[in-house]
């Protein structure tokens, strides 16, 4: 049962990722990305990581993707603005590079003893600790003991992101000191002007 679910999820998630890559319209890409995140969440479930599976859906599909869609909507880009002229040589070169990295990874995976000797997914788990490893109590305990510093420090990471996001998007309420430097333009007005220009 698990194995067939995995095969379906695995193939679908690769296909979804490929669609994210190839769609021109970012809205379509985002929708396929949501599909991809959900499929990855299913794979976490098969790997006996239920807590992670839930968090994956909540944070990725629920929060991050909404943010993406929100920004895409805010920018209100027209198809002309979205057209990318990527040269053929650049496509071929980067495709070759990505393929090279993949082949190297695959070679490392194939040669590895750990991977060869790894137990099968459907094999029963003997260790009771491992069986409960993916549930909230075990993860919570780990977060507040072994990884306590990392847990606290991630608040600094988020604080940095908040400060940065606010600083970069804040509208300028007042003009820059006169007589110096570049003219300060109201970024908000610019957005409006751009939106009008693209609308007409």
């Amino acid at each position: 049962m698990d194995s067939s679910v995995f095969h379906i999820c695995g193939l679908l998630s690769v296909a979804a990722a490929a669609l994210v890559v190839t769609r021109r319209n970012p809205v379509y890409s985002t929708i396929y990305l949501v599909l991809f995140f959900t499929l990855i969440s299913l794979e976490f479930l098969i790997l006996r990581a239920p807590f992670l599976a839930i968090v994956q859906v909540l944070v990725y599909a629920g929060a991050i993707m909404v943010l993406f869609l929100f920004v895409i909507m805010l920018l209100n880009l027209t198809p002309e603005e979205l057209r990318e002229d990527v040269s053929r040589s650049r496509k071929v070169l980067s495709g070759a590079f990505a393929a090279l990295i993949f082949v190297l990874l695959a070679a490392a995976i194939r040669r590895s003893d750990t991977v060869r000797d790894a137990p099968n997914l459907v094999a029963p788990i003997e260790d009771p600790g491992l069986a409960k490893a993916g549930e909230a109590p075990a993860i919570g305990t780990a977060l507040f003991t072994t990884h306590a510093l990392a847990f606290e420090f991630s608040s600094i990471l988020i604080l940095v992101a908040i400060v940065g996001a606010i600083h970069l998007t804040k509208r300028r309420g007042r003009a820059a000191p006169s007589g110096q430097g570049a003219p300060a333009q109201g970024t908000g007005e610019q957005v409006q002007a751009a939106a009008e220009a693209s609308g007409t």
């Binding site: 970012p26 968090v55 929060a63 099968n120």
Partner: protein, 122 residues
């Protein structure tokens, strides 16, 4: 472009075709393919939003890798899963910051193409 990966997939995971069993290999190969696709986006596309989606693909492939290793190759699977939780934290923070930069770029340059406005020479 994505079809080029399929033969590689079959070559790298011969077990996938023969047996119905799922092992560590399968997860690692899926993760490697997604990593390759994410890499492809980041180095090919110029649309800032598409680039950010590529970065999200990269982070997810790493997360899958960690959980798979935790499940199959370690005695105590908690560490790998905790790392993946932190990866999700990072992804959220990175996405918000990246979108803020994108908005700012659009306000300043009226485009979201990274290479288009070449005020900086290559």
């Amino acid at each position: 472009m994505s079809t080029g990966f399929l033969p590689l997939l079959l070559q790298a995971a011969p077990a996938a075709a023969s047996a119905g069993q799922v092992g560590l290999t399968h997860y690692l190969v899926v993760s490697a393919i997604v990593f390759g696709l994410g890499l492809l986006v980041v180095i090919t596309r110029r649309n800032a939003i598409a680039l950010l989606m590529g970065l999200e693909l990269l982070l997810n492939s790493v997360g899958l890798n960690f959980v798979a290793f935790a499940k199959f190759a370690t005695r105590d699977a908690v560490d790998g899963q905790v790392i993946t939780i932190f990866l999700i934290v990072i992804a959220a923070a990175e996405a918000s910051l990246a979108l803020a930069i994108t908005l700012n770029i659009f306000n300043n340059l009226n485009t979201v193409e990274v290479d288009e406005a070449r005020s900086l020479k290559g």
